[in-house]
Symmetry: none
Subunit: 400 residues, 2 copies
C-alpha cells in the first residue's frame, strides 16, 4: 500500500478550501550574509510564518535539482520518480495545444540552414508575427501523408510546437537537433523498436518543412526535441476528490495543471491578476494552485536585487488572500532558484502551513534558515498534499 492507494481510499470531499501558493524558485542562497528571502521586506509573509507550522521540503530527494515538471508533481502529491513528463508535452500544453492519446508532440525551433549546415539555431530570433505567418503557411502547404496528421503551432519568437497524430506512435525518439551551429541538421532515431514508425513520420516532416520553406531567408528549417506523448497519469479529482483550480499566467504551469485535470483560470500577467482570478474562481473549487513566476525568472537571471523585489512585490497581496479565509494555506515553492546559481537548484523549499488544525511553532520569518527550525522538520515535497488534505479534514482514518 502506497500513498497513492491510501489517497484513493481515504480522501473525501468536504466544503473546506485549500490554497497552495507557489512562489516559484523562492529559495535562495546568502549573498553578503543574507538570502533573497532574508533580505526582502515582507511583513505579511513573516506574519504568516508566525501563525504557521514551518519546515523545509526537498522536491525529489536531497541533492536532486528538479525541473518544473517533477517539482510541481511532487507538490501535487505525485511521486516524481514514478511519473515523468516529457518536455514536449509540457511545452505543448503550455502553449494551449490540445493533446490527445494518439498525439506525439515535440518542441520546435525554426532555424537557418545554409550550405547544408545549421547557421543559426534560432533563425535570428524572428519576430513572433513572422512565426505565426510561417506556421499558417506550413499548415496550409505541407504535403498530406497517408494516415498521419501534422500541425505546427507558433510560440514566441522562433519557437513552435509540432503535433503528429497517428495510430501507434511511440515517443522513444532522439532529439532532431544537432545542438550546435555549424553542424548538419540531425534526423531523429528510434530509441526503441516500437518507435520506428514515429521516427519515419518525423523525419519525413523535417524534409517536407525544408522543402516548403526553401524560399525563406531565415526560417528555412525545423529542429525538434523533447518528443513526448500524453502520459498516463491519474487526475487530482480522481486521486484526492478535489475540485481543483489553477491560477497561473505562464503557459507551462497552465499546461501542467490541465494535464492533472485542474480547471485553469486564466489570469493576466500582473501580480494583481492572479488574485483577481483567485477571487473569481473561489466559489466553484476547493483546491487552488496559485503560481507566482517572478521569483524564479529573476533567480534564473542571476539578479539578486530583482528577486528580492519580486518577493516584496507579492507580499502586499497576502491580505487579499487571507480575506478569502482558506481553511488551509500553504506558501512554498516547487524548487529553489538561487540567484547565485542562475538556475534551479537542489536546495529545499521553505514551507509554511497555516490552518486552525495546525497550531504554530516558534518560527517568526519566512526564510530558509527560520523554516529549518519549524515543527514540520525536513521532509519531501510529496508530503505536502497529504498534509494539506489532512489539515482540511479531507482524509479519513487509516485502519481500525
Amino acid at each position: 500500500m502506497e500513498w497513492e492507494d491510501l489517497a484513493r481510499e481515504l480522501s473525501q470531499q468536504t466544503d473546506t478550501k485549500i490554497v497552495l501558493l507557489v512562489m516559484d524558485g523562492v529559495g535562495g542562497l546568502p549573498a553578503d550574509g543574507q538570502s533573497e528571502l532574508e533580505a526582502a521586506r515582507k511583513p505579511n509573509l513573516d506574519a504568516l510564518a508566525k501563525s504557521a507550522v514551518c519546515g523545509l521540503a526537498d522536491p525529489v530527494m536531497m541533492g536532486i535539482t528538479p525541473g518544473s515538471g517533477p517539482a510541481h508533481l511532487a507538490l501535487f502529491g505525485y511521486d516524481p520518480l514514478k511519473y515523468q513528463l516529457g518536455r514536449g508535452i509540457l511545452e505543448a500544453l503550455g502553449s494551449g495545444v490540445e493533446v490527445g492519446r494518439n498525439d506525439l508532440v515535440a518542441r520546435g525551433n525554426f532555424a537557418t540552414v545554409r550550405d547544408g549546415l545549421v547557421a543559426d539555431r534560432r533563425a535570428g530570433r524572428i519576430p513572433t508575427e513572422e512565426n505565426v505567418r510561417i506556421c499558417e503557411y506550413l499548415n496550409a502547404h505541407l504535403p498530406q501523408r497517408e494516415g498521419v496528421e501534422v500541425r505546427v503551432f507558433p510560440g514566441k519568437e522562433h519557437r513552435f510546437v509540432a503535433r503528429f497524430t497517428a495510430e501507434e506512435l511511440a515517443d522513444a525518439l532522439s532529439d532532431a537537433d544537432p545542438q550546435k551551429e555549424g553542424k548538419a541538421p540531425l534526423p531523429t532515431t528510434p530509441l526503441r523498436a516500437d518507435a520506428a514508425k514515429a521516427s519515419g513520420i518525423v523525419n519525413r516532416f523535417l524534409d517536407d518543412v525544408a522543402e516548403v520553406l526553401k524560399g525563406e531567408a531565415k526560417a528555412n528549417a525545423a529542429l525538434l526535441r523533447g518528443f513526448s506523448k500524453f502520459p498516463s497519469i491519474p487526475t487530482i479529482r480522481e486521486l484526492f476528490k478535489l475540485r481543483p483550480a489553477a491560477v497561473a499566467n505562464y503557459p507551462m504551469y497552465k499546461g501542467l495543471a490541465r494535464l492533472l485535470g485542474m480547471d485553469v483560470v486564466e489570469a493576466g500577467s500582473e501580480t494583481a491578476d492572479l488574485f483577481d482570478a483567485l477571487e473569481r474562481s473561489w466559489a466553484d473549487h476547493d483546491f487552488f494552485y496559485v503560481h507566482y513566476k517572478k521569483t524564479d525568472s529573476t533567480g534564473e537571471d542571476g539578479k539578486f536585487a530583482a528577486k528580492v523585489a519580486a518577493i516584496e512585490a507579492l507580499d502586499p497581496f497576502i491580505p487579499r488572500l487571507l480575506a478569502l479565509k482558506p481553511d488551509v494555506l500553504v506558501v512554498t515553492s516547487d524548487h529553489s532558484t538561487p540567484s547565485a546559481l542562475k538556475g534551479h537548484s537542489w536546495h529545499p523549499n521553505p514551507f509554511m502551513l497555516i490552518s486552525t488544525t495546525a497550531g504554530s511553532d516558534d518560527v517568526a520569518a519566512f526564510t530558509e534558515r527560520a523554516c529549518a527550525k519549524g515543527m514540520l522538520g525536513r521532509f519531501r515535497s510529496i508530503s505536502a498534499m497529504p498534509l494539506m488534505l489532512a489539515h482540511a479534514l479531507k482524509l479519513q482514518k487509516y485502519g481500525a
Copy 2:
C-alpha cells in the same frame, strides 16, 4: 534488504531491558495558546525530557490519521502499510475473544427482518443484557455442523462477534449486510476462489440464526461484516529476539499485543495497577509495553481539562518506573488525539528516549513544540523499535 530483514539478522538477546510507555493519544493542539501537554503540570515527565533525546514521530506518514492498529504496529517495528489488521480481528481481540490460526471472525449486528426485508439494521438497539441472552441461546441451540465450530460473543447493544473455526477458511468474503434498511438480507460471496468453503459456512450460519431466532420480536437475524482471519505476522520474539510483556488494561491493546506474541500481564483499571503489573513482570521479560489509555479517551471526548488531568495523573508514577532502572525508556504515543478534534489525528507524536547510550539534547519539556527541536528530529514511528534496540545494545553491526 528492508528493516524487517535487518532486524532478523542483526537483533540479539541481551540482559538489557526496554520500557515503551505509550501515553495513548497524548499529542494535542493548542487551545488558548497551549496544548494539553503544555498546560499540564508534569515535573517528572519534564525532568525526563531534560535527560533525553527527543523528536516527533509520524505514525504512518505525514498527514495520515491512523487507527490504533496501524499506529501500534509502527511503534512495535512493523510497517503499518504492509501489515493490515482486519476490523473483525481487532473487534474480536478487543472483546477478549480468543482467535487462533483456524478461526475466521466477523463483526455482527443483530437486526430485525420483516416480510423478507431488513426493517432495522440494529434491532432497535436492544439492551446489552438482551444481547447476552440471545448469544447464550444461539450458542446452545445453533445446529451442529460437521467440521465447523461456531460461537457468537455479545458486545454492546446490538453488536456481537461471530467466530467460525474450521480448516482452510479464507477471509476474502464480501460483507453479508445490505447496508440499508428496506432491502433483503445479503448473503456473503467469496471474493477469491479459496473462500468458497468459508462462504458456504457463513451463509448456512445466517440461515441457522434466522431459524433459531424466528420467535424473537426484534433480534431475528444477523448481519456480518469485516470478515478476517488471524493475520500472518511474525512475532516480536521472532523478529527482535525479545521476551516481550504487555501491561495494559483495555481489551484491544491486550489483543493486539497477544497477536504479536507478547505475554499479556493483566492489570486492573487504576493507573497504579499498571505499575504494579510492570514490577511483577520485571524479572521475566526484557521488553515492556505499558499502555496508558486515559490521555486518549479524554481527547476523544473533547475534554481539554480532563486530558490535562490525565497527563498530570500519570506523572507521579514516573519515579516508580525509573526505580526499575530500565536500560532504555521511551515515552511517546501511538497517535495524537487533540481534544480540539475529538478523535485520532495525523499530528506527530512527541517522543523521548532516555538511555545512558543516548546523551541528551536541549529539550527541557515533554511537549509537541519542545520535542520538535530535539536531536531525533522528525521521523516515522517505525524507527522507534530500531532506536530502542540499538540503545539497549541489542542490534549488531550491519556489514563489515
